[in-house]
């Protein structure tokens, strides 16, 4: 293994992760400095609804595609969302497995499974890019960051697909392309980690907060959990 690859897989990743953690910490402090609004009035809504139930419902809302009309009516899009995020999680996991737990990749079917998941996510990335460019609604709301973040993740997922088969090699320099593919994956990972706090990819940092406050409000007012009925 070359020194540069070793550096990229270890020290560079640690620095990038440390940087991301630092920026996230600052970001959270900044966010929490905004005062939270409260509610003085007595609760409303059907009996049995509460702030706690509202918050819990709100947090797991995304795992219940039937709960929101927007996901219920667009199940294919929802499946894309699941696949894409599973792929991202798998690629992140791969960036830890290769330097710190290479043996795990020798488990039968581990590498093909990683490739299938990240490959599917990469394909979803391409589909999403086509949607973002092709739909006038998506173009109207998209910023350069939206395009770049999606492109970055898609390419990075693609690099995970290509790097995974060589992840278990102790010395990839002995196999053609192996070192280059792993290096590409780790350099992209490092860039990704540094870029994330400044981009929309950091949305997961805010997700617990936004859903918490929406759930708290709507739970207290009896709107969450959502009730539906098509018949009288």
């Amino acid at each position: 293994m070359s020194d540069f690859l070793h550096f990229s897989e270890h020290r560079l990743q640690e620095l990038a992760l440390g940087f991301m953690a630092l920026v996230y910490a600052i970001r959270i402090v900044w966010f929490l400095r905004f005062k939270a609004g409260g509610e003085r009035q007595a609760k409303t809504g059907p009996p049995g609804t509460s702030r706690t139930k509202g918050v819990l419902y709100s947090w797991v809302n995304i795992a219940m595609p039937w709960a929101m009309e927007s996901t219920r009516k667009k199940l294919f899009f929802y499946c894309q969302f699941v696949v894409f995020h599973l792929g991202v999680a798998t690629a992140i996991l791969l960036s830890f497995i290769i330097p710190y737990g290479r043996g795990l990749l020798e488990i039968p079917l581990a590498v093909p499974a990683i490739q299938v998941i990240t490959g599917a996510a990469c394909a979803v990335g391409v589909i999403r890019m086509i949607r973002r460019v092709g739909s006038p609604y998506m173009r109207a709301i998209s910023s350069p960051d939206d395009y770049f973040s999606l492109a970055l993740l898609t390419v990075w997922l693609g690099s995970a697909v290509l790097a995974a088969p060589y992840g278990a090699l102790a010395d990839p320099s002995k196999v053609a392309y192996a070192e280059g593919l792993r290096l590409t994956f780790f350099l992209l990972t490092a860039f990704f980690l540094v870029y994330v706090p400044f981009s929309k990819i950091s949305h997961y940092l805010y997700y617990p907060f936004t859903r918490y406050y929406l759930g708290k409000t709507l739970g207290y007012r009896g709107v969450y959990p959502i009730r539906r009925g098509s018949k009288a």
Binding site: F31, L32, F34, K35, A36, G37, G38, E39, R40, Q41, A42, T44, G45, P46, S58, N61, I62, M68, E69, S70, T71, K73, K74, F77, F81, S135, P136, Y137, M138, R139, A140, I141, S143, P144, D145, D146, F198, S199, K200, H203, Y206, Y207, F209, T210, R211, Y213, L214, G215, T217, L218, R221, G222, V223, I226, R227, R228, G229, S230, K231, A232
Partner: protein, 589 residues
């Protein structure tokens, strides 16, 4: 290229300063969390009614506000504004463009908020943006007028105290015979130590006093110890629509303090979506006021009376198929959606659910104060296509709603899309289904003390002369046919001048007056008749397809018309109102 600070207008500068003061954690979260996934797009009725126009998409509209936050409060936007589409405002024209979006392209219905995977609450920060613009005097004219009335006169329609009290007395007198009690006991005014203080929407005084009478009948038959305040009675709150927390807090505080002054135990809020939300849920926060008494919607009160056996209802009196429209404020912001259904099922025989419903229902198009912003009416009516399709699919003939804004919004949609439906409220259906106990009705004398001349049997309008003024010949023909079939003598008029001429010539008991006619304006005709002592017996019922023109009548310094009907008018509604107006004998103009 960055524009120099000195080119920024005073208003733009103030908006940006106040943005920083308005931000709380919930709003900041909604500003930073959007991933532009586009999932909210199809949840908006404006988008669905304007296919291909992305400027109605909730995320697009949100970004017009969000760009200011990014440019002035978020680090990426400060350093690389173009990268995240951050931006600022410099001119009053740019603020006007923002006004067009936050007031004219969103009713704050919160449907997109419930469909956002990230929990971004656009409705909340759209309201905040409205408040910022209002604070520098940039708002639709209707918003300015209504806000001014609410600040200065204490109610959003500028109803004077004497008109309000007179209307209550009038309604009480109407019920005297039926309930067999003196008027002052039927609608007690300013009675202290009551269980219930009842607050209403000024629209009920101006356009729909029947709802007051119906509510009074229900309270009386339930044996409720209740009262209505003589002032500070308006439970509506334009602060919700204008985003002005100061107005919102001040308006509600007046009502809260009135209830405290009367030592009322419970404030019952009549059927009004934004009024209920404001008074019950939002205003204690705007005004930083801890309310020491209970508050509830009249829907819950009426349901309680039936469940407790305090009133009896017979649902067979409401057999026409009905559907229910959930007000956005009630359903999506207060969780009030099961009680109206429970109540409906007790008072009607044929309830048909609208789809989608409850918190997923579509806006009536009149929310967010849209009914007062006439400049956006064509846009609003176009977006009403979604509601019209929803209504039509139910096959119902009556749409019930617990919101006065929705009554007006739905009436407009029904008229615009030519649906064969009427709008009503739960209080009307409950009152209609009431079983009045025999002991509540006074015994009639077996022989009348004085035999009066009576019209021919079966023709309830016989002996009455009516002038029907409308520039649409079809409308005149229809009204004339209905009224003549019921015994009235009818004279048609097709313009303002002709209406005035007919009234002078025939001295009718009633003039039905359209508001948009050629010649002399309806407002002038109305005022001239009111001011003519020879014509003081002529009662006037406004029948209009343009409710936004009401102010030409109601803002005049003469007594308001005795009746008001929105087009389209059904035979049943016309006759009910005409008979009610003609039966008024104690109401002095």
């Amino acid at each position: 290229m960055t524009r120099p600070e000195k080119t920024r207008s005073a208003k733009a500068r103030k908006v940006l300063e106040r943005l920083g003061q308005k931000l709380n954690r919930q709003i900041a979260g909604s500003m930073v969390a959007c991933v532009h996934c586009g999932m909210c797009t199809d949840s908006c009725h404006y988008v669905l009614a304007n296919p291909g126009d992305p400027t109605y998409a909730p995320a697009y509209k949100a970004d017009r506000i969000r760009k200011l936050f990014k440019r002035h409060h978020d680090w990426t936007g400060r350093v690389f504004p173009w990268w995240v589409k951050a931006g600022s405002v410099f001119t009053d024209e740019e603020l006007e463009e923002l006004k067009d979006i936050v007031f004219g392209k969103c009713t704050n219905c919160r449907r997109c908020s419930l469909n956002c995977p990230m929990g971004v609450d656009l409705a909340t920060f759209n309201r905040m943006a409205r408040g910022l613009l209002v604070s520098v005097g940039i708002m639709p004219e209707g918003v300015a007028v209504v806000s001014k009335d609410q600040w200065e006169l204490g109610n959003q329609m500028g109803v004077l105290k004497e008109d309000y009290v007179e209307t209550l007395e009038w309604m009480a007198e109407e019920l005297e015979e039926e309930l067999g009690a003196p008027a002052e006991e039927i609608i007690p005014i300013d009675k202290p130590d009551c269980e219930v203080v009842y607050s209403i929407n000024p629209r009920e005084v101006k356009y729909d006093p029947r709802t007051i009478a119906d509510a009074a009948k229900i309270f009386c038959l339930a044996g409720e110890n209740w009262t209505m305040p003589s002032d500070c009675w308006d439970m509506t709150n334009f602060g919700l629509f204008s985003g002005d927390d100061d107005l919102g807090g001040a308006v509600a505080r007046r009502l809260y303090e009135k209830v405290i002054e009367l030592r009322g135990k419970r404030l019952v809020i009549s059927e009004c979506g934004h009024g209920y939300r404001s008074t019950r849920c939002e205003a204690p926060n705007w005004g930083k006021f801890d309310v020491p008494f209970d508050m509830e919607s009249s829907v819950i009160t009426m349901l309680g009376y039936i469940k407790e056996g305090r009133i009896r209802v017979d649902k067979r009196r409401n057999t026409i198929p009905v559907t229910f429209h959930d007000s956005c404020n009630n359903a999506r912001s207060c969780g009030l959606f099961e009680e109206p259904r429970e109540l409906l099922n007790l008072v009607v025989t044929d309830f048909r659910e609208m789809v989608p419903n409850r918190a997923e229902n579509f806006c009536c198009t009149g929310g967010g104060g849209a009914m007062s912003m006439s400049e956006y009416t064509p846009r609003r009516l176009k977006s009403g296509k979604i509601k019209a399709d929803q209504l039509k699919a139910t096959g119902a003939k009556i749409v019930v709603t617990s919101c006065h804004n929705c009554v007006d919004g739905l009436t407009d949609v029904i008229r615009h899309y030519k649906l064969d439906m009427e709008v009503t409220q739960l209080v009307n259906l409950v009152a209609n289904a009431l079983v009045v106990p025999a002991e509540a009705v006074p015994e009639k004398p077996a022989v009348p003390e004085k035999v009066e001349e009576v019209p021919a049997p079966g023709l309830p309008l016989a002996g009455h002369t009516i002038v029907v003024a409308d520039d649409e010949p079809d409308q005149v023909t229809m009204l004339r046919a209905i009224l003549e079939d019921h015994g009235a003598t009818v004279f048609p008029a097709f313009s303002g001048d002709e209406a005035l001429d007919m009234v002078h010539r025939h001295k009718p008991d009633l003039l039905t007056l359209d508001l948009a006619m050629p010649g002399k304006s309806a407002g002038e005709v109305f005022e001239m008749i009111r001011k003519d002592p020879q014509m003081d017996h002529v009662k006037i019922c406004v029948i209009t397809g343009r409710p936004e023109l009401r102010e030409v009548i109601y803002e005049r310094s003469v007594a308001p018309p005795e009746g008001y009907l929105d087009k389209p008018v059904s035979e049943e509604r016309l006759l009910r109102n005409v008979r009610k107006v003609l039966e008024v004998t104690h109401h002095e103009n």
